[in-house]
Amino acid sequence: MGMTMTQKILAKAAGLDKVEPGQLIEAKLDLVLGNDITTPVAITEFEKAGFTQVFDRDRIAIVLDHYTPCKDIQSARLCKQAREFARKHEITNFYDVGQMGVEHALVPEKGLAAPGEVVVGADSHTCTYGALGAFSTGIGSTDMAAGMATGLLWFKVPSAIRVTLKGKLQPHVSGKDVILHLIGEIGVDGALYQSLEFAGEGVGSLSMDDRFTISNMAIEAGGKNGIFPVDEKTMEYINGRVSRPCEAFSADPDAVYEREVVIDLDKLEPTVALPHLPENTKVVSEVAGTPINQVVIGSCTNGRISDLRIAAAIMKGKKVASNVRCVVIPATQEITLQAMKEGLIETFIQAGAAVSTPTCGPCLGGHMGVMAEGERTVSTTNRNFVGRMGHTTSEIILASPAVAAASAIAGCVADPRAV
């Protein structure tokens, strides 16, 4: 029986020739990641356990992105604790305000994740780096403490779902529509304890930004990871960012999958997820006209340069509807600079949108776009749970940058193909 891509990466990291689904292994970690919410809890556990040294200061990344620039005294305390730990242990990849970006956009941009590597992060959307052909997955703070101390972590080898992509995306349809469609098909626990392995000729047509968006939301289907094969686009992306040797794994021809889901990219339409689960998907034309109060464009899911280009192309020369607040958050400083050079920031501001420094802020109801009772946001983020972005009676409709931008202009949920 052959192995999937994920199983091969885990076998190598565990020093084994072969692994099987369900097997418990201990694997070597290439990167341990944390943010300003999860790292302080990990530090407290690390110190409480009496650990005094990190396993490798170059293989830990701490990114202060969630409640930053700090929204209140308590979040400032958390950042202070993380900052002091990073200084004490001389953590190489420590990103504070001014350098930081939304972690899952920043880590690939800085070349901290590469094909074949094992990356764990105390943030559920760490699965994003599967787009690079890495095994990457979310963990908790105690796991992060263990990873920082030892460079090792236990895993249950996952079985897999093969997601075969065919064809090519149509205009105004992007990676977000692919992953929302998939979650709608298999449900929020459809890939529980499993890996989602993307394959098929359709992969080649997807940009790296589309792949990051798709892998990012594997967790919203319950997945342990969501991984793409390594191709020319992957190598082009890491060129100039990653200088260490890395290995492109591919699934064995006789790898075993628990099931296969086929997605015909040609037929996909702009898709949204209605409150309060990412599996509540509809094609946007079915819900066009739904009243909204706010639009958020950004996050680890959709705050990359191609997302901003898509939104700006729709908003250029137009105005955000008077009943809507529109908040645009480029995910990193590099993306912000690039958006400035291309005139995208000017487009957003002239349209009447607020443009922010990088932060996760509104996605988790932290700051920069929290909702009151009964309000509704079209958001390019990843979760629409009860109370996620504010009051428990507020609502989130998850959408692509194209749908979000079209909705900001229309003042209600709108189909970008109709704007």
Partner: protein, 161 residues
């Protein structure tokens, strides 16, 4: 000792809303536990109570604050048909007992008196008299639980400094 019962896909945002993550002290987390799904939970929960819920319990964010909040309330066990995987490992790592048992999760009702024998995996609903057999943890995971959590087990092995 009483049972709190919830549906499927209870996410970590309702277990502990992100607006309360700026104070990770156990007492603060406990005081807001479950407040977006059950505003009476934090004020009525007592040490030894249990949560029985639907599938995919603990989905969403990796925040360990969620199982910490539940543990800090004194909840002694969570029974569900399945758990989201990060939540599952967080519970093992911090020593909050969880049991996967679809039939027990479906049949046990709010208010029932329930006992769980973690060694045998036998769940007894004293109110209805029914018993259920949950699958025990694999040996490796049981070892972590027995050590009192992941970091204690690593210390015992001498793999960290």
């Amino acid at each position: 000792m009483k049972v709190y019962k919830y549906g499927a896909n209870v996410d970590t945002d309702v277990i502990i809303p992100a607006r309360h993550l700026n104070d990770p002290s156990p007492a603060a987390l406990a005081s807001h536990c479950m407040e977006d799904i059950d505003d009476k939970f934090a004020s009525t929960v007592e040490a030894g109570d249990m949560i029985v819920a639907g599938a995919n319990f603990g989905c969403g964010s990796s925040r360990e604050h969620a199982p910490l909040a539940i543990k800090s309330c004194g909840i002694k066990c969570i029974i569900a048909p399945s758990f989201a995987r990060i939540f599952y490992r967080n519970c093992i790592n911090i020593g909050l007992p969880i049991v996967e048992c679809p039939q027990a999760a479906e049949e046990i009702q709010a208010g029932d008196q329930v006992d769980v024998n973690f060694t045998t995996g036998v769940i007894t609903d004293q109110t209805t008299g029914k018993t259920y057999q949950a699958a025990p943890f694999p040996e490796f995971i049981e070892g972590i639980v027995q050590s009192g959590g992941l970091l204690n087990s690593l210390k015992a092995r001498g793999v960290a400094k």
